[in-house]
């Protein structure tokens, strides 16, 4: 795969990955802003409103017919937070012409449609249609409310809200219900124009065309992009230490039969000059994979939980352990999760465990290069922290990680928040005695 990265217009960067490996190509466009409680809902709403209709294809019906005619090209709104950078825009996936019965290439048409969605929405008097804004806003509110349906995801978000209460990171990628409810079409149109003028834009292409051709197509398609002063002052504030000396515990109740435990950690001092391969191998060894300490000890040996895993938010320097448990195991599971971290700190793991962790991580990263969606996320995330290392190179670096490096990362990690979502009216057991 050939990777090329360049600024194709003021504040507009393209990462182009040329490959013949896939049946489809992809193009994505992300507007970047600082994650902020006041604007998060508006940012998330904008691509949804834009996706409702353009000047040429004024409603969903017309847009859908057009996309179907382009052999099922898909263009979806996508909003993410990567650390404390809010990325909002579109992800498009289209079939490569050489596999279509007609042989037609649809990349150029897709690029034009993306630009049309971004720059030429269906408006009245220069403003978004109130109908589109209201209905998309109501759906956004439903989605924000609906996060309780995914119990584990909800528990994770609640842990983040508690742990990062004084940080921008506590803001959900969709913002909160209150700010979403306040959105009206005039205000949203104004914010849209601000975004267009000032947000850095990241474009990503993966497919069979040359970077040069893609650049030409995108420059042409985006030629009417109104660029003002670009707001480059965006980034993520990494807080190294826990908020308090010992982790805070939050217990909430909900109608679930299985309790959801989420423990939030700061990666700590190791984030001063992060050694990514070492941090990732540490995570695989501690709780990231099925050979990890958490899986083997907390789940398999002690049967304390149904599952236990750790995940990283590397841009923000956080790690979360999440687990499904019976409420009576709360204290024991929490203590065992911390005890396993101590074991990694002390270097109590075998060469075989380390090898399995490396292999698990390397395999995961190499596999990312086989999926366009993963590659898009990978390179966007790289673009945001200036990294230019490919998945293959990252996988190779994991081989050199030593046991001492892994323990050093573990020693730097601090638990900051323990969140437990327990079944209504149940008693969680702290230390053998019943507490209600």
């Amino acid at each position: 795969m050939d990777i090329e990265r360049k600024e194709i217009m003021p504040g507009v960067n393209l990462t182009a990955l040329r490959t013949d490996k896939f049946k489809t190509g992809c193009l994505s466009l992300s507007l970047l802003t600082q994650l902020d409680r006041d604007t998060a809902s508006m940012n998330a709403l904008i691509p949804c409103v834009l996706r409702r209709g353009t000047a040429l294809s004024p409603d969903m019906d017309a847009l859908s017919r057009r996309l179907d005619g382009m052999y099922g090209t898909a263009v979806e709104p996508i909003t993410r937070r990567i650390g404390e950078i809010h990325c909002t825009g579109f992800y498009a996936s289209f079939p490569e012409g050489r596999f279509l019965p007609s042989g037609t290439e649809v990349m150029e048409e897709t690029a034009r449609l993306l630009a049309e969605l971004l720059l030429a929405p269906n408006t009245r008097g220069g403003l978004f249609l109130p109908d589109y804004v209201d209905s998309e806003r109501d759906k956004l509110i439903e989605a924000i409310r609906g996060r309780v349906n995914d119990r584990q995801g909800y528990a994770l978000q609640r842990c983040i809200e508690e742990m990062c209460r004084y940080e921008a990171y506590s803001t959900l990628r969709w913002g909160d219900e209150k700010s979403a409810e306040a959105i009206r079409y005039q205000k949203l149109t104004k914010h849209y124009h601000t975004l267009l003028a000032s947000s850095p834009i990241e474009l990503f292409y993966c497919g069979g065309a040359d970077a040069e051709d893609v650049t030409a197509v995108l420059r042409e398609a985006l030629s009417s992009l109104p660029r003002g002063e670009i707001d480059w002052d965006i980034g993520t504030d990494v807080r190294m230490n826990s908020v308090e000396a010992s982790p805070r515990e939050t217990v909430e109740e909900m109608g679930v039969s299985q309790g959801k435990l989420v423990m939030g950690f700061r990666l700590g001092e190791c984030m001063a000059e992060p050694d990514m391969p070492a941090i990732r191998v540490f995570n695989a060894l501690y709780g990231g994979g099925v050979t990890s300490k958490l899986f083997a000890n907390v789940r398999e040996k002690l049967s304390l939980c149904y599952y236990a895993s750790s995940i990283l938010e590397i841009h923000k320097g956080l790690m979360f352990v999440y687990s499904g448990i019976d409420p009576e195991n709360y204290g024991a599971a929490r203590d065992e999760i911390l005890r396993q971290l101590d074991a990694v700190r002390e270097g109590s793991f075998t060469d075989a465990e380390l090898a399995a962790a490396k292999s698990c991580f390397a395999s995961e990263v190499r596999a990312e290069a086989d999926s366009q969606g993963e590659l898009e996320g990978y390179w966007l995330s790289n673009a945001l922290d200036g990294g230019e290392i490919s998945p293959e190179e990252l996988a190779a670096l994991a081989e050199d990680v030593t046991a001492e490096q892994v323990s050093a990362v573990a020693r730097s990690v601090e638990c900051d928040e323990i969140y437990f979502l327990k079944p209504d009216g149940s008693a969680e057991d702290e230390d053998g005695s019943e507490t209600v």
Partner: protein, 425 residues
């Protein structure tokens, strides 16, 4: 070994039947780091009453799924998940109503991992202690699943549609039904269903098909086994057993599913055609580009939490359409009207051509996903067709066939609806 070239989609498929009856499919994918192998038994949650020539055997609900959980234990005390993971593979398994599938994805040591996969799946090892322990773990899993609105709305729909067919019971069974499972149950079901003649091995990646065959020949028994026969009970009527069910759970908005039964599946090319026609008919009638969906989306009656599928499993075909809506009843009325419209006036040429193109593109996209490729190939093996033939066959489907499917299968009296409402304030 046969080599089939599908130039239209740029794929080469190697196929073979081993002397022990194992059906082999290898999709060659140069340039990919990921290799994928799926080893599947034509055995799922609905295969509860069966025989191998002799007497019928009845088994409790949940055995196929229980077996899947227990297969990872190996006689020497090792766990196959750990061994595969230690080799950098990502192993897992799933059990549906009609299939049990063990698979792994890896970027290294593919043939070692493949040998291990074949070995552990064909080596049964169960003890009373390990079965008792698993009853606890699966009991937890069952309770957790029963908590989820998605599962409840789905199971309620199957119970509305089917009067008797075992597909109406949860694949994992219930806490009570799995309590009846003993090591003997597991040994006997393994013997019947997990023999190479009742299984398929489907792989994708930058791999050598001959080498895959050599590994399979070496790791598996050489003899053929039986191809068991399953009794799914007396044939079901075309109409649902009941039309409406509702329940209340902790959800933010009502969740609903509309369902219907498709005609009992045939085998071979006819079966593949039936699948393609049904899928295309649903795309035209209620896909996300259909006037039905876009109209209700604009009215705020449907949102992006919406999907539709046609699930063919264990001799059944089930249409499932649903999502989230503040007024599920109104959605059902609109659906009936849309189906009546097509039944009356047929499908326009433009609508059909667009749906055909969209379906082709979506299928092409599906080839990017090895998991999807291998599971589709396995379904094809058990259904008697090659999944990659769908691209050529799709282009021969006619609008009349699709209209007929809608007229015949989605008439008002054929529909059932399952709803989960939010708890009362």
């Amino acid at each position: 070994m046969d080599q089939r070239r599908f130039d239209n989609i740029g794929e080469t498929l190697y196929t073979d039947v081993l002397p022990n009856g194992l059906r082999l499919r290898v999709d060659s994918r140069p340039g990919f780091a990921t290799c994928y192998a799926a080893f599947a038994a034509n055995y799922g949650g609905a295969n509860r009453r069966f025989r191998c020539g002799g007497e019928w055997t009845d088994t409790p609900a949940g055995v196929a799924h229980f077996l899947e959980h227990k297969m990872f234990d190996m006689p020497d005390g090792d766990n196959a998940l750990d061994l595969l993971s230690a080799n950098g593979a990502e192993p897992n398994a799933f059990t549906s109503s009609g299939m049990t599938c063990y698979y792994f994805e890896s970027t290294q040591k593919f043939y070692d991992n493949l040998r291990l996969l074949l070995k552990f799946v064909s080596t049964p090892y169960f003890t009373p202690e390990s079965v008792a322990k698993e009853q606890g773990i699966i009991g937890q899993e069952i309770r957790m699943t029963e908590d989820t609105p998605d599962f409840a709305v789905y199971m309620n729909l199957l119970k509305l549609l089917y009067a008797r067919h075992p597909i109406r019971d949860a694949v994992a069974g219930t806490v009570d039904s799995i309590a009846e499972i003993s090591p003997e149950t597991l040994y006997s079901c393994h013997k019947v269903f997990y023999n190479p003649s009742n299984m398929t091995l489907c792989c994708a990646g930058d791999i050598d098909a001959e080498k895959v065959r050599a590994v399979a020949e070496e790791a598996l028994q050489a003899e053929r086994g039986c191809v068991p026969e399953t009794d799914f009970g007396e044939a079901e009527a075309d109409t649902p057993a009941a039309n409406y069910a509702e329940d209340r759970m902790d959800v933010s908005a009502p969740q609903f599913l509309i369902g219907a039964k498709a005609s009992p599946a045939l085998s071979g090319g006819g079966f593949l055609r039936q699948k393609l026609v049904g899928q295309l008919a649903l795309r035209i009638l209620c896909g996300t580009s259909s006037p039905f969906y876009t109209g209700l989306y604009a009215k705020g009656l449907l949102n992006r939490e919406y999907d539709y599928e046609l699930d063919w499993s264990a001799g059944t075909g089930t249409v499932i359409i649903g999502g989230e809506s503040r007024e599920p009843g109104a959605v059902l009325e609109h659906f009936k009207a849309a189906a009546a419209g097509v039944a009356g006036s047929g499908i326009s040429g433009q609508a059909f051509e667009n749906a055909l193109r969209a379906s082709y593109g979506a299928r092409l996209r599906g080839l990017e996903d090895f998991d999807n490729v291998c599971v589709s190939l396995a379904e094809g093996v058990f259904g008697g067709y090659d999944a990659f033939d769908s691209f050529a066959m799709l282009r021969s489907v006619t609008p009349e066939e699709c209209a007929e499917f809608i007229r015949d299968r989605l008439a008002p009296d054929k529909l059932a609806m399952s709803v989960i409402l939010p708890e009362k304030e």
